[in-house]
């Protein structure tokens, strides 16, 4: 007789021990654990530990546009070099070449075999990037954006970031546990396009522009001077902070549109401290090509001012004193230490190939997450006590057995979640608490069946057996329907909802196990020892 229970009891005991073991790494109860165990445990979701969940869209059309623009100007250069009388310009999606003759077409084919002839009319040839090339450019842009963001996040220092691609041109970034969320978002989303352009101090309008304006006045200023700005120039702004008053203002710059050097040639960017003003600045170094370019630009433009521009914000515009060799430069500006550090990070990891557009931002501060956990634990404990007390009052000793199953249920559920290294979210906690209420349902169904059988005059032993048998299918059906819900929620849900689906789904199996094997074993044990005359139910 005893042998019959032995495997069931040892199964329950093993499951309990395993559950506790797997959960241990998530607690601070034991200081040193074997290494194989350390990888288990429950991970807290973003909503519980705080952090950032971002979805960005990479503006891939823009990348294609920029590529076409580059090809058009590159072709114009080639024509000039080869002394071919031809013009090349970009119109919409087309690269338009005129005049239409064989020499021109041959040059285009040699230089850019990926261009396909779109149409010919009025002595012009219209070329377009072929679709394979367009796809390659788009794909490459997203891959590069991913890589750049990974780089930045790594250097920023986030414990377990998740950065992946979604659909064709979306990037999902999860940064759990980040405290300074605002800084993280700015770091990730910055295009970080570094450009060096000359100021145009000779244009007549340059003297009319105000030196500084209060922040927020940019749009008005642009409107005011619209039409007066020379075709090759643009107005850009720089941020200034007065050291004494800490009041911010915007410096107005008239800048030539032509980009002389870009950040593509950077090899290094470091934060240094200016000894005189005790202000941080970022020193940058160019590679050999960049250094040569920089030397050329500085040599040709002595006494002119060179603006250092990041994402269309002018950081500084020092006057060139002399030719600069060696390829080192400094970016100064009114920034604090953290800002300088982040600037160095984005410069080191390179610019994004295309601007990012934020589609979704879910940020949870660390305090809200902690409040949620505390509230969840409190609600869980109170819920469990209410259910446990009710079951004992209503079903007496049998209620105690059901409560035993309930406790097993929760232990197994937490253990299983730990073993799967599942992510626990607030809805997930709600799922566990609901599971407390649902865990005893199967037992209630069986107990009520037993009561039916007892009323019919059956012995306790027979009542228990037929109670279990008859209630089985009802219990099974109800679990399957819950499982269907869980699977659907998992398929269609996002982050926190997935967490709920996991607890709900895992809970179904555990509940079946504890109800059918857990409590049954206890009943069998009690009735096997001696002849039970009366069942406490």
């Amino acid at each position: 007789m005893k042998k019959k229970f032995l495997w069931r009891i040892s199964l329950i005991a093993t499951a309990t021990i395993l559950s506790v073991l797997f959960f241990l790494p998530s607690t601070s109860l034991v200081s040193s654990l074997p290494e194989w165990l350390m990888k288990y445990g429950i991970t807290l979701g973003l909503d519980l530990q705080g952090g950032v969940h971002l979805v960005y869209e990479v503006d891939i059309d823009k990348t294609v546009d920029v590529t076409a623009e580059r090809i058009a100007s590159s072709l114009a250069n080639t024509f000039k070099e080869k002394k071919i009388e031809a013009k090349s310009e970009k119109q919409g999606l087309d690269i338009v070449i005129s005049p239409d003759n064989d020499q021109v077409k041959k040059t285009v084919q040699e230089q850019f075999p990926n261009l396909s002839l779109d149409k010919q009319s009025e002595g012009k040839v219209f070329y377009r990037l072929n679709s394979a090339e367009v796809n390659r450019i788009k794909n490459f842009a997203v891959d590069q954006a991913l890589e750049t963001i990974r780089n930045r996040v790594d250097q920023f220092g986030v414990a377990e970031p998740t950065i992946h691609r979604q659909a064709t041109n979306e990037i999902v970034i999860q940064l759990p546990g980040v405290k300074d969320t605002k800084r993280a978002i700015e770091l990730v989303g910055k295009t970080a396009l570094l450009q060096f352009k000359l100021l145009d101090d000779e244009a007549p309008i340059a003297a009319q522009l105000p030196g500084t304006i209060p922040p927020g006045g940019e749009e008005n200023l642009l409107k005011q001077f619209a039409g007066q700005v020379p075709e090759d120039d643009e107005i850009l702004f720089g941020r200034m902070r007065n050291q004494e008053t800490q009041i911010e203002s915007k410096t107005v710059y008239l800048v030539k549109k032509q980009t002389l050097i870009t950040g593509d040639f950077l090899t290094e960017a470091r934060v240094n401290i200016d000894q005189r003003y005790n202000e941080p600045y970022v020193s940058i170094s160019f590679d050999s090509t960049g250094a040569k370019l920089f030397e050329q630009v500085t040599a040709n433009n002595v006494k002119k001012r060179l603006a250092i521009i990041l994402d269309n914000n002018v950081y500084s515009a020092p006057a060139i004193q002399e030719r600069i060799e060696g390829g080192n430069a400094q970016i100064t500006g009114s920034f604090g230490m953290e800002e300088a550090k982040d600037l160095a990070i984005v410069l080191r990891s390179g610019s994004l190939p295309a601007p990012l557009k934020m589609l979704q931002n879910v940020t949870v501060g660390p305090s809200l997450g902690k409040d949620s956990i505390d509230a969840g634990i409190k609600a869980g404990l109170i819920g469990a006590i209410l259910v446990i007390v009710f079951m004992i009052m209503y079903y007496k000793l049998s209620g105690v057995i059901a409560d035993f199953a309930l406790v097993l249920n929760i232990v197994f559920l937490i253990g299983a979640l730990s073993a799967f290294r599942a992510t626990l979210t607030m809805p997930g906690i709600a799922g566990i608490i609901l599971a407390i209420g649902m865990a005893v349902d199967s037992n209630v169904l069986m107990f009520e069946r037993m009561r039916d059988e007892l009323r019919l005059g059956k012995t306790p032993r027979a009542a228990i057996d037929s109670g279990y048998d008859k209630a089985f299918w009802t219990i099974f059906d109800s679990h399957v329907t819950t499982l269907i819900t869980a699977v659907v929620l998992y398929e269609f849900g996002t982050g926190p909802i997935k967490g709920f689906a996991v607890t709900l789904g895992v809970g179904v199996f555990i509940n079946l196990f504890t109800a059918l094997i857990g409590t049954k074993t206890v009943f069998d044990l009690i009735t096997s020892r001696r002849e039970v005359k009366k069942l406490s139910i």
Partner: protein
């Protein structure tokens, strides 16, 4: 043996027309709510409508109208304010923000930081959903509801006879619509978490229906002499205590969640509580009468 309900002989089926009237009203409200949700005119959450929600925790207590004034002066438009007075928290929501997401939340925080000094303003959470994501989430939620209902329907059809399947499906729809309708009526936000609750309710309410159906099916097999109506009535009376007890235990844990579970999960818990009550009611007053009506004439007493 403690029994809450002893040997009841309530004539449930006799009251089925009153119940059907009540259910019809609940269902109609639910249908109206569903249409409003689809049209985007209901009180949709930020996750469905797109927009910005910022929850700020102040270290000292603040007056809601001061916050409102500060935001208005700071040029923030079309916002909703909601306070959680127990913890000095204020929730600022702006629906259907333009395409420039990311800027709005920054603006809100900087306006409030200026007014209330930086140290006093702690950003609890920020949610910004672009219009594209919002409509995708809305579509996903709809598909999820349909797939789940279909899945449940197929399972019930597989396990029970046709008329039981019809009864269970209608009862499940009834429960989901009723809770959605109540949320719509009391102006609660309809968001992803509510949809999760609704699906959970769909699964759970069926549990309850299955308990009743199992007994009806069993009694139909064993008690030939009685009329169908009597059998249905007797079955419900027999299982009344267990459907109430099973619902009650889940009700208890949902109640604990509702009272102590914190702000994030508050409405979810409310939906579960409503769902449990409606689900228990519908097993008796919606699912069973439908079985009775469909099975009145023939083939019912054979098995």
């Amino acid at each position: 043996m403690i029994e809450l309900i002893k040997n009841t002989k309530i004539d449930f089926m006799g009251k089925r027309f009153i119940a059907l009237a009540v259910s019809a009203i609940l269902t109609i409200i639910g249908l109206i709510a569903a249409v409003q949700v689809a049209r985007g005119t209901a009180n949709l959450g930020i996750d469905f409508a797109g927009g910005t929600a910022v929850q700020i925790k102040f270290n000292t207590s603040v007056m809601l109208h001061d916050v409102r004034k500060a935001l208005e002066d700071g040029g923030i438009k079309d916002f909703d304010l909601q306070d959680l007075p127990t913890e000095n928290k204020v929730l600022i929501r702006i629906k259907k923000s333009g395409s420039n997401i990311g800027e709005l939340s920054k603006g809100i925080v900087s306006v409030l930081s200026q007014k209330y000094s930086q140290g006093n303003v702690v950003v609890d959470s920020t949610t910004e959903i672009g219009p594209k994501v919002g409509s995708k989430l809305r579509k996903d939620a709809l598909v999820a509801v349909l797939v789940a209902t279909l899945g449940i329907l197929i399972y019930v059809a597989f396990r029970f006879q046709f008329k039981f399947g019809v009864g269970a499906t209608i009862a499940t729809f009834h429960d989901v619509l009723a809770v959605l309708g109540i949320f719509f009526l009391i102006g609660k936000e309809i968001n992803l978490l509510l949809v999760t609750a609704l699906l959970t309710i769909a699964g759970y309410s069926l549990t309850d229906t299955v308990v009743v159906f199992d007994r009806i099916r069993e009694n139909l097999r064993t008690k030939f002499k009685k009329s169908t109506s009597e059998i249905v009535n007797q079955s419900i009376n027999e299982v009344l205590s267990r459907t109430i007890v099973t619902s009650f235990t889940v009700f208890l844990s949902s109640l604990a969640l509702f009272i102590f579970g914190g702000e994030v999960i508050h409405d979810f818990a409310l939906a579960m509580i409503l769902g449990i009550i409606v689900g228990t009611y519908s097993s008796i007053f919606v699912a069973s009468p439908i079985v009775l009506m469909l099975g009145k004439d023939k083939g019912f007493n054979k098995k």
